[in-house]
Symmetry: C2
Subunit: 111 residues, 2 copies
């Protein structure tokens, strides 16, 4: 019995559905059959079906892998761009306090 039923926000689900569609479009543009792409990713065809549907329960690594193979750019950035962004993000984290303490008032000052 499912101890906790999981819920997903509409925004998250729509983003996932979009990513799935983009992967499917990319696959078709490259003229790969579902079977072919599944093999390149290293998953079964049934799992690729779930990826292209935007099923929230697939491994995120598989979804990103599929995106990478068919040329869907995450954060519209290439490999170098990703690395640079990661470095910048690290810098911004480094400035902040290491631990966050529960605030009585939600501050939430947007950067």
């Amino acid at each position: 019995m499912p101890t906790t039923k999981r819920t997903y926000s509409r925004y998250g689900l729509e983003g996932l559905a979009l990513l799935g569609k983009m992967i499917r479009l990319g696959r078709m543009q490259r003229r790969l059959t579902a079977q072919e792409l599944a093999e390149r990713i290293g998953v079964s065809r049934s799992t690729l079906q779930r990826i292209e549907k935007g099923d929230p329960k697939v491994e995120v690594g598989l979804m990103f892998e599929a995106a990478a193979i068919v040329g869907v750019k995450l954060f519209d950035a290439d490999e170098k761009g990703i690395t640079a962004l990661a470095a910048r993000t690290d810098d911004r984290i480094a400035v902040l306090p290491k631990h966050i303490y529960k605030a009585g008032k939600q501050v939430d000052d947007d950067f």
Copy 2:
């Protein structure tokens, strides 16, 4: 016994690591403790740790949910923008043949 050991491309892993960092940064900016964000997502703190590390084996839905809650945008688009993009993607898919057949020559004509 692991039937198939899974591998991930460097690009995919870096993208995941970046997403994890951005989620962590977003959480800190909003002054949420790990425990608090975990509860909002509906996962345990240990799972959130894996999300922020960019572990490829977490559910993609959880990762997107975390991103949505702390305001990390994957497609820099709001809800309406996402919906519009999805519609546009559907249109582009609709133009293509319904089935892709294995091509002797890889055509891969970049649109």
